[in-house]
Amino acid sequence: MQPTLENFVRALRGHDVPVSLRESIEAAELVTRIGYGDRDLLKNALAVTLAKSAEEKAAFDDCFELFFTRQAPAAPPPVDADENDADSDAEGAGGDLLDLVRQGDAQALAAAMEQTAGEIGAADIQFSTQRGFLARRLLDRMGLRDLERQIAAQRAGADSSGGGAEALEAARRFLLDEARQLIDRQFQLYAAQNAEKIREEFLEIARLGAVDRRDFHRMHRIVRRMAKRLAQRHSHRRRRYKRGQLDVRRTLRKSLPHDGVPFDIVWKTRKLDRPKVVVICDVSRSVAAVARFLLLFLYSLHDVIPDIDSYAFSDRLVDIGDILDEEGVETAIEQVLNRIGFRPTDYGQALEDFEEQFIANVDRRTTVLIMGDGRSNDTDPKSEILQRVATRSKRMIWLNPEPEAFWGLGDSEMPRYRPHCHLARTCNTVKHLERVVDDLLRSYNG
């Protein structure tokens, strides 16, 4: 495969376009047919072959522009050829670099730079800190040292004709600048996404309370990706075969073409319940640090689970399903927090509200998911209501951002609530969340 295309595919993979081996082979085949001459044709053809969804197309476009677009190369500043000729002859090789600069051929210079960049493996760049080093290395290889030596020689030797040294110095600065730009582009193409990935991996296991607000967008992306993954894993398998129970009607029907001989035997199947989830989310002051992320998670759940009801409370409980369904993620979260967020907690009141108004939404197929720390400001926790809700539901799951050691300390009512939950767990990273929801959905499919 051509190295150009190979690098392009690598850049694509770095930008979250999972190009398979077969696809890259096909792309190579295609390029041998259509060539690199017609830019639009190349772009369209590669897009069709390599990018397979709207997001991938967008990433592809960025990548393609970055990879195949070159600004018209700038011409190097003029270096007086006559004056330097003698010197360069004297030194044997004034370096190819000097020749290139002297000729003033921008195209040739740019091409030589690209080629050298390939030779020193600039495409393997990993970190932004490597940029300066690589730029220098690129120029060294092209013969910058010779150039510098000449500058020094001219400065020392002929003070009178110092103009030559000045021109050379300008050329040197120009070269450094060009090289840095070239390496920058390589970094954007191959490595910028790496840093992002490392950051995201870190965020996945970071405690929600410790996540900075400016990482919110990243978090959103991570949570969305997780939600999508969960949806994909659980969107099928809605039917389970009950081995051993004959479906008489369908077997008879199937036997008709065989003269009534039941060749094809049909077993009864049971349609599995679709997950039905009621989420109650604490957004009060005590969970202020994580409320935003809990809501973010809730928001993504709305995209994944078709049958979901969401409520949030500090002291009074409100239905927030509509807000989450209709608004964009940021406005939705802001709205919820402005309406009911950050007030003193009252679990008892919230549970009372829930039982009064929404208990009808809980039936034996429903999983009730409560996200909160169970700190109720020493008000009456009314755990008997929780018990009643738990009896009605299929499962009651409590996700608590606090570690288990803190449950029951201070005003935490966890020990009173816990006996009524089928599952109570610490949950303060994205990874935890994923595991819990995965379990939850699996209980419907299993």
Binding site: E23, L30, R33, N44, A45, V48, T49, H236, P257, H258
Partner: protein, 323 residues
């Protein structure tokens, strides 16, 4: 025919002009996708909003190549026997009944059960031969001698098992019938799968297909499409009505009007002998463009302004602005 075909598919320009000759205006992306599809022999997964010409693309290609178009409409519960092949049970049954009489002759003089079985064995395979095979769209497409254009419409409606089953057909253009063997296409069909994105397609299928996204067209392309499909509309009206639809697409609607709606509307206006957009007439015919009552209600107050804008655009020469 092969010769003509290869000429028409030789380059992106050739495809564009050949499609234009039968009134399908293809954007460069579409033409490129067709070119790549035939060059690599891969199926194309076409996505985009309803009514932008996904199905029409396959139909036009079939017409252009003079190949038969074989269409498989997907729905929930579609399975192999409806997509690939089925045995003609009735015919098999009938033949069995008729041949029962002959059974005596065949078994005449057979020694014991083993002997009778051996003789029956010689005839057994007859009932599972091509004669009793009822080909369904996929198999028909594979067996078409000159190659076919196979359109698998709305693949997102079928369930995932069917998607998995398609993998074999689409990657090797062959199917195996256990009783007969493998049937392979002599000339690989051009395959198009369309999807309205009601659910995400599996990664395996996506990776095996080329992916073409057809967006709603811009003013210029849409004018060309209307000109090709409804040639009797005057230039001025065409420019105005397309401008109006483009404006409408920028408003907040449940279902944006698509190209097919634009074409229908152009035809309607033609029937009404319009030569330019009148707000009243637009209001009366809005139901051609918009398919939800709430959308019509939402758009009604904006009609005069959008129409005025479209008129202004047509006067200043939209083509120049867009170029």
């Amino acid at each position: 025919m092969q010769h003509i075909e290869s000429e028409k598919l030789a380059s992106v320009e050739a495809i564009t002009s050949a499609l234009a000759a039968i009134d399908y205006i293809a954007s460069p992306q579409i033409a490129t996708a067709v070119y790549v599809a035939q060059a690599l022999g891969k199926p194309v997964l076409v996505e985009g909003p309803a009514g932008v010409g996904k199905t029409e693309l396959a139909r036009s290609l079939a017409a252009m190549l003079e190949r038969p178009l074989i269409r498989l409409q997907c729905y929930e519960g579609l399975d192999e026997s409806k997509a690939l092949y089925e045995w003609k049970y009735g015919k098999q049954l009938l033949y069995t009944q008729v041949l029962k009489e002959k059974l005596g002759d065949i078994l005449d003089g057979a020694e014991g059960l083993d002997g009778a079985m051996a003789r029956l064995n010689d005839f057994g395979d007859l009932f599972y031969s091509e004669r009793f095979l009822e080909p369904r769209p996929l198999m028909t497409a594979l067996r078409e001698p000159g190659g076919a254009v196979l359109l698998i419409d709305e693949i997102d409606k079928a369930n995932e098992e069917f998607e998995a089953f398609l993998l074999e057909v689409l990657s090797d253009f062959q199917v195996s019938v256990p009783e007969i063997g493998t049937i392979k296409a002599d000339v690989a069909p051009l395959v198009f799968l369309t999807s309205n994105n009601t659910r995400d397609m599996g990664d395996a299928l996506k990776r095996r297909c080329l992916h073409l996204h057809i967006p709603l067209p811009d003013q210029r392309l849409e004018e060309d499409i209307v000109a090709a499909r409804v040639p009797d509309v005057s230039d001025r009206l065409r420019r105005q009505l397309v401008g109006f639809v483009q404006g409408l697409r920028e408003t907040d609607l449940k279902k944006l009007p698509s190209v097919s709606e634009t074409i229908d509307w152009a035809r309607t206006l033609l029937l009404l002998h319009a030569d330019q957009l009148e707000p009243q007439m637009v209001r009366d015919t809005l139901n051609v463009l918009l398919k939800f009552e709430s959308d019509i209600e939402a758009a009604r107050p904006q009609v005069s302004e959008l129409a005025r804008k479209a008129q202004r655009l047509s006067e200043t020469g939209i083509r120049a602005a867009n170029a």
